[in-house]
Symmetry: C2
């Protein structure tokens, strides 16, 4: 069990539509973030929204994001503007007896906040370790760590998880009673869920790797 | 081959970072959009960005989005504000010989524009058919179509694909030469790609469906 306080939504982090799908447990927020690999960062540039995919990593209630210092979006985010960071996991296609009730099963975390550029050298290394380990567990210790030039080229941002919401849909379709036939009715419309999963396939070694180089456990263990 | 004109990016739809990953072929834009099921819609509400997952469907160079008329985000989008709609497909985790060069293989489409609320009754039905068929091919004809009340509760938006960009990363890690050991060097750091795929599992029938109801081909054929 997670001992952290529950999510305390503000007006904009309160789930209005489909409130029965809202979750208020901080552990559920962490679980969705930990299960995803790609998030979508939204920010406002010249009055228009931009939404870009980005990797991330979580440590406690801090989310770390990174990217090139040359990226205009990250420069804008580093300037202290409000951002929205969303991670969505698709779990299934929901087939209903009406077009209207077709849906998706999913888990979605939405975080609002102002990102903090991470400048402290120790926290920068920590944040990059968190990011690397989220993407590729074990890689931080197994590979060459960033040198001074690489660090200078990397923008690292921290986003606090204070203002966040989680929405989850699970289960069968929510059909209208009128669309559900009795048990003796012939040829009903098929209804149910087609589960969708993200799976990891066989490792594809880099062509520059000597033939026969073993795949380490940290990689092998991720294969579905 | 796609005979449509190539993507003609504006300043904000020009890929600046990683320009070698930018694609300029309209067919590639269509392919990414057609392969995804969930997009992320970004818009500005009270000066702050919000990014929400949403289903969509494509017909030619029009993208249809829909949602409840009660959703604040869709009401804002329908009011003619600029939006950004992004679809990202994760294809792999890229393991490099340095933490810095770890990456992801992906395909990403980013569309900028102002959405148009669809009010014409015929186009509304068409748009909902496109959306339903993208999510669940064959479902529009096989299930009950929306009645007047359901149509009134559904906001349908159209987004033109004029201003869009596509970015794709494929292939092995882009390691520095200094990190790639010679062929006779022992114990190299494993490098390569762990492919990530989205798969569809066995259909889960609705509990209200009579036992033994066959799974139709339109559903069965999607199982991976």
């Amino acid at each position: 069990m997670d001992a952290a306080p529950p999510l305390s939504p503000t007006a904009r982090s309160t789930v209005r539509r489909g409130a029965r799908r809202a979750r208020t447990d901080r552990a559920e927020l962490h679980a969705v973030l930990d299960a995803g690999l790609v998030g979508h960062l939204g920010l406002v540039v010249n009055g228009s929204p931009i939404v870009l995919p980005t990797g991330y990593g979580r440590r406690g209630d801090i989310l770390y994001l990174h990217g090139s210092t040359g990226a205009a979006s990250l420069r804008a985010a580093a300037a202290g503007v409000p951002v929205c960071f969303t991670v969505t996991l698709l779990d299934g296609v929901v087939y209903a007896r009406s077009a209207f009730h077709h849906s998706m099963n999913y888990r979605c975390a939405v975080v609002h906040g102002v990102v903090r550029p991470v400048t402290d050298p120790d926290e920068r290394l920590l944040g990059l370790e968190v990011l690397t380990e989220h993407l590729a567990p074990g890689s931080w210790a197994a590979t060459r760590q960033p040198d001074r030039r690489e660090l200078a080229a990397t923008a690292l941002l921290a986003l606090d998880l204070t203002e966040a919401s989680v929405k989850v849909r699970t289960g069968p379709p929510g059909d209208d009673d009128r669309d559900v036939p009795g048990p003796d009715e012939p040829d009903p419309v098929w209804a149910g869920v087609l589960p969708v999963r993200t799976v990891v396939g066989e490792p594809e070694p880099c062509p520059l790797l000597p033939r026969g180089t073993p795949v380490p456990t940290r990689v092998r263990d991720r294969v579905s």
